[in-house]
């Protein structure tokens, strides 16, 4: 077992090191907090908000905070969260604002 000495080991080590530094480095250039960036406790955000869109186009606030299994500040996909909120409303459409820069919506199936 000499794999740990040869060029293969060097390649594996270099690859891991590049990922270890490169992934969090790229995350520094987006709004915080980002996943895979070791950005724990870096910003404080307000609680996320959600609205049901009534047939007439009226926005009806939904209580979303209590619906989270784990309320995380770094959820990346607002559309997926909006779609998940459909399970808790009869409205045909849902809008979600996770953070000021992360919002999305879904048409409920």
């Amino acid at each position: 077992m000499t794999w740990h000495k040869g060029p293969l080991a060097g390649g594996i080590a270099a690859l891991i090191l590049v990922a270890m530094i490169g992934i969090p480095f790229t995350r520094l250039f987006a709004e915080r907090p980002q996943r895979f960036g070791w950005q724990m406790y870096t910003v404080a955000h307000e609680a996320p908000k959600a609205w049901a869109i009534a047939p007439g186009g009226k926005l009806v606030p939904l209580d979303m905070v209590e619906r989270f299994a784990i309320l995380r500040g770094d959820l990346p996909d607002a559309d997926a969260v909006a779609l998940a909120m459909c399970a808790f409303t009869d409205a045909p459409d849902v809008l979600v604002e996770l953070r000021p820069d992360v919002s999305g919506g879904a048409r409920c199936p």
Partner: protein, 382 residues
Amino acid sequence: MTWLWDRLAKRIDARPLGVTRIALGIAALLMTIELADSVGHVTDGAHLQIPVIPGTDWMRGFVATALAAWLVGAILFTIGLWTRPAGMLLVAASAFLFLADQQLYSNHLLMLTAFIGLTTLADGGAALSVDARRRGAHTVPAWPVWLVMAQLTTVYVFSAISKLNPSFLSGSVLASYFRSDGILALPDSWRSFQLMFVISVAVICLELFVAIGLWLPHWRRNAFVGGLALHAGILATYEAPHFPLLVFGVASLAPYVLFLNAAPASKLVIWDRSCDFCQMWIRWGQRLDWLGVLRYAGNEEEDVLAAHAITREAADEALHLVDGDGTHVGYDAVRRAAEVLPLTFLWAPLLGLPPVRWVGHRVYRRVARNRKCTIPRPEPAT
């Protein structure tokens, strides 16, 4: 580059990695409790279910299985039985949980998984494990161990850099996380911009200091204390649920022992063999010396005393510890020994702070004077 790779390609003692593996295993066991709560919420139907990849809702049906696999892996990894498969099982279970629901991601779990993966790659079961008992302990390649250390540094560095933003520097983040109830609560009147700003900058500096200091022999002891203070401080002062912070602390501190400059048998302890009180402490020292750093000689071993210019009278009077830095006597010898034991090395440098040291010297002298020596004093070896 060749010089660097020559250093990283060599094989090193596996015991520090074994200690890290056990600590990571304990963190993984504790993490099971945290994960059980999260998994329960994700699957109870009363909370949001947010798949990472659309159309993979079926994965939610297996998160309890993944959690069970995590628990089995954590037990095996801790005791070091089938360590490599156990480590791979933990990484696979963690990856499955990450992919099952967006809410199951956590930086703490990701960090723990990264440490476990790298420790597995480094053959973390090579020492202090059931595997090592069955197959015999052996050395491990240095480069994967170095990667575990680099991973810890990366976490601290990016954690510090990402805090360089107006929200954190304004102090509002810490002000919102600090406890508002209990004996460690921060009074509202103290949550001023000035104080919160100073604490915020101090936290960033501390993280950077630990990240760099761990690699520098001169600053390493301070970095150990700094890291311990950082994690103990988070646990003591943050209002956030404390159990996850405890798990985070254990996982973060687990690789610190890899930075310990503690070559096997590199420190010589000379002690009074006629003293049963000393014998009890030496026995404890041997039990806790998992890295095998300390070797022992009795005060009757004249050749050993002569080799280190220690008189028999001095050796009868107090414990001596000889290492690369010189000869340490009495309380200082105890302190130096504590700095290489896995259970004490993080906080032992505090024993060298002036007030603690003064008290320590006094207590040591008093105990040494009043100790009972009922064991017949051995004659000098001839």
